[in-house]
Amino acid sequence: MSEALKFHFDVDGTDFTSAGQASVQIKKNLRQLGIAPDIIRRVSIAMYEGEINMVIHAGGGEADVTVTEDCIEISLRDHGPGIKNIEQAMQEGFSTATDTIRTLGFGAGMGLPNMKRYTDDIQITSEIGKGTDIVMRVNLK
């Protein structure tokens, strides 16, 4: 694989039921590329958490996945409310999710920590009222 492979997804922020479809698709694509199962699992979980966050906290967004010889990069962008305190948001258990979101099975405050747990690098930039940008990398070597 000499050329980088790129996948792009629009994440619909109005439909909770379909949230996660981009991650399901990426999982299939990576399988076709013959990537190791544990790497695929780490990428899928991290992307799924990010995708769900965009739907429940930011009204949707965009996801781009780039596969090179060295790594898989997952880039998520939304134009939601932004994250006030990133350090606090990274703590296990911190969540601003409403009771409605909790009854849907989310809001444990574990998503961002999971994204960190399963990737080799995570960079979060966020501006209140503008949106959030998250770039995660999983090394292949």
Partner: protein, 118 residues
């Protein structure tokens, strides 16, 4: 533990992917919060949950889980069953409550697993 043994132990009703009943699972996770589940990664696991929506199946799929057990007689929707069939995940439903269902599997040798360090 074989998935068929889980079905027997929990007196559960099989809902889809019968052809995988002979597969083995080595660990289990019981929760209604999906990100809690996503923190626990182990090969060939079973998920016990009282939550019913499509994200339960997607969570199991992301984790490469083999089986989902719905507790307290919860029943998956037709859409969830379709998703599970596509992902080849056994679904079953038991009348038992979460605490009891987990206890039965645990005491029969299916132990949980550790969270990966952040």
């Amino acid at each position: 533990m074989k998935i068929s043994a889980i079905k027997e132990l929990l007196d559960a009703e099989l809902i889809c992917c019968e052809e995988n009943l002979n597969e083995n699972v080595f660990s289990a996770c019981g929760s209604d919060m999906m990100s809690d589940v996503l923190a626990y990664v182990k090969d060939q696991a079973v998920l016990l949950t009282g939550l019913v929506n499509s994200q339960v199946v997607r969570t199991a799929e992301m984790m490469d889980m083999r089986c989902i057990v719905f507790v307290r007689s919860k029943m998956p929707t037709a859409e969830m069953i379709e998703l599970a069939k596509e992902a080849n995940i056994v679904i079953m439903a038991t009348k038992k409550r979460m605490y009891e269902a987990c206890g039965i599997l645990y005491s029969n040798g299916l132990v949980g697993n550790k969270v990966r360090d952040v």
